[in-house]
Symmetry: C2
Subunit: 437 residues, 2 copies
């Protein structure tokens, strides 16, 4: 069986989020270097940045130097702007130059994720020469699994995977074994797209190209696992009806978290105020048939729930590229069918509930069948409207150049609340005219 | 510049989801083999399975054989149970045996993801011998980036990364360069945990071990990119208030999708019926002060929105391991603070809205200040309750052994609707006693 000193690192990682700022620095400083050298590179960027700020210059130098240039650039970007220059100067000259290049990119595009330490080959090299070269350089490369054949002006000619080198005849040239038709990404490509491209093509790494076809770096798959997780977290938080937090839940300061939540909550609240305005139009109806008021929450919330389902499905399908703008009508048609079926199903339950209740204790008066009918019809209406509105809103936001994930469940629910009231009272007025109303 | 015949494959992939079953088979059959050989392995499992069902036996053999055993096993599992044996028999003998082993695992655990084609080394091998061995075997291995040193009984002694072999002296033995303290995973470990482990440790691959310490396979990082995406999709759909769909939105049959949505919608509807019951207790109050009914949707939906924020945050933080059960009190305290602040903030807006409205057109009568106070106090109450309930529910579900993601936004909203009504009418009765009520 394996002994597992990795356990120490794992245990510390697991506890890390629960520790205070002070404890962290203390614990970290007391680690044997063997452990801290394993531990530091695996910490998330934010924790690395905070830790570095609390350490001495000599320590900063050691730990920052330990990171690969792309990770070091991320850490520096995570610092307050006035601390960046100081930390950057803690790096050695060559590393500093590399990090400087990376700092010119936004951190969420290919350029901001890439490493500049990639293997450069010439097409006339033989397979054996290439393998020895990779072997010599292994320590200083971000990845040895993938190398790039370049011409004299650093234009990318092709990609060579180590697996190909291993499988090829020793005497063949790189020009013969390289893939000319390889996937590459532009410097400015969004990280989510890069991640999807690598996942779909099952690539270990991909070359980053500037607009003149020069290779500027390589993005490796291990950097992208975090990207996929981060992007999903952002979408989930938006779907929950708030701005995406930019730090773990227990780490973000309370004030910052409240601010991130207050914005959308206030917008939704202002939207929801329209329900009070809408209700005031139906005040007389409520006065004449208070029984109608009893079902308001049931009707509008059910519409909100069905809208929440539809919007969540469509937002995620869009994020995964399964649904595109041109699928608008197909999605609309599906949601009309789904909304009608679900509405009829719930309408039936609602109707049955009123009839059964009435049989047990006659609280709804002589017109209970008509009341039941009003509720059932309204449920069909709001569930149908909720499903359609929930599904279409992400399309509309995308068309306006906004993030479809902003069509959050609470946003759709609010929209459906207001419309739901109008549907409910309109149908009830029609059905109950001459009896209760 | 690169020419990019990959484009054909990409274009076809992009259109794939929009094509009908028949068109797919037609298009696929008409592809030149060079393209289809690139295209088929990159399709998602479900599409591969469907395509294979529509093809002839000879074609089935070609394409199924092209997949690595773990992918072939996934495809076979994606078929209807009565078609599996036939397709399995389309494989060659050694491949069939490998797939058979994999089929004994659930598809969402390490054993179901792993490949059995890993590189086996002996500790007494030299670095140079190991590299030549990997070079010989490269074609038949799932990964060459990671090899395993085993004793005679197939117990794992250590892991060797190709990068280490490249960096080490040629004459050293595997026993000297291998990592004895390597991370391994058990056969039955949940795929989400495996993915997090690899991401956290920035590993390319990890050994899968049975309960006797024998190595049974290797899981590589490219298999896990999909896992991370899938798991996030499941959580997002659950947060949206439904069962996770098991196919892309446009592909799942309408009937199946409606069934997946109807279950939770009906449960929420039954829960929401309690609002009608609760309201019936306050029927007399509404009769005496219809103005109270106007604000019901505003008050309860705002509670639902704040609950949706809190539950989404906590569910995601739990899925990422940032929040654990023992953080219960810290989370509770944060949500009490957040709920109070947000409630006071919205309460103020609500109060201001009523005062301003009254100044413009006096619809709320002489007691408008007391009405405003009732609304403001209720908002503080429901937002506080919503935040706490939303944050605590995922904990409670976890304690009961259920998936915390079932504490969906609509679930919390429903819970808060019922309680919100009670809070609203209780506070209103207290504040308006002797005036309106």
């Amino acid at each position: 069986m394996l002994i597992d000193p990795v356990d120490d690192v794992e245990r510390l990682r697991a506890d890390w989020h629960s520790l205070g700022e002070h404890e962290r620095v203390g614990k970290f400083r007391n680690l044997p270097t063997k452990i801290s050298a394993e531990f530091f590179p695996r910490l998330d960027t934010r924790s690395q940045a905070r830790l570095l700020l609390a350490l001495d210059r000599a320590e900063q130098h050691v730990w920052l130097q330990l990171l690969s240039p792309d990770d070091a650039a991320d850490v520096i970007l995570a610092l307050p702007a006035d601390k960046r220059a100081a930390l950057l100067s803690a790096l050695d000259e060559p590393a500093r130059r590399e990090v400087d290049v990376l700092l010119t990119y936004r951190s969420d595009v290919a350029g901001g994720l890439m490493s500049t330490r990639f293997a450069r080959l010439r097409p006339e090299h033989t397979v054996d020469e290439a393998i020895s070269y990779l072997r010599q350089q292994a320590l200083s490369l971000e990845t040895i699994y993938c190398a790039f054949a370049l011409d004299e002006e650093q234009h990318l000619l092709g990609t060579v995977f180590l697996q190909d080198l291993f499988c090829a005849d020793r005497g063949k040239t790189i020009g013969e074994v390289m893939h000319r038709d390889c996937v590459t990404v532009a410097e400015g490509m969004d990280q989510e797209k890069v991640a999807r491209l690598l996942a779909d093509n099952r690539l270990q790494a991909v070359a980053v190209i500037d607009h003149q076809g020069h290779i500027v770096g390589v993005v490796t798959v291990d950097d992208l696992m975090d990207v996929v997780t981060e992007e999903a977290t952002e979408d989930i938080q938006k779907i929950g009806g708030m701005e995406a937090l930019d730090a773990p839940y227990l780490e973000i300061s309370l004030r910052r978290m409240i601010r991130k939540r207050a914005g959308w909550l206030a917008i939704l609240f202002l939207g929801e105020m329209l329900t009070a305005t809408a209700m005031s139009y139906y005040e007389r109806q409520i006065e004449r048939a208070v029984v109608l008021a009893l079902f308001i929450p049931l009707v509008i919330s059910t519409g909100g729930n069905s809208g929440s389902q539809a919007t969540t499905l469509v937002i995620r399908a869009m994020a995964l590229g399964e649904v595109k703008l041109r699928d608008f009508w197909r999605v609309a048609w599906r949601e009309i069918c789904a909304g009608l079926s679900l509405g009829l199903f719930l309408g039936l339950i609602g109707f049955a509930r009123i009839v059964i209740w009435q049989a047990v204790s006659p609280v709804y008066g002589e017109y209970y069948l008509l009341i039941g009918l009003s509720i059932a019809a309204s449920l069909v209406g709001v569930v149908l409207f909720g499903s359609i509105a929930g599904a279409m809103l992400p399309f509309i936001l995308t068309l306006c150049g906004l993030d479809p994930a902003s069509a959050s469940a609470p946003f759709v629910a609010t929209l459906v609340d207001v419309t739901g009231l109008v549907i409910y009272f309109t149908l009830a007025s029609f059905i109950l005219r001459g009896t209760l109303l």
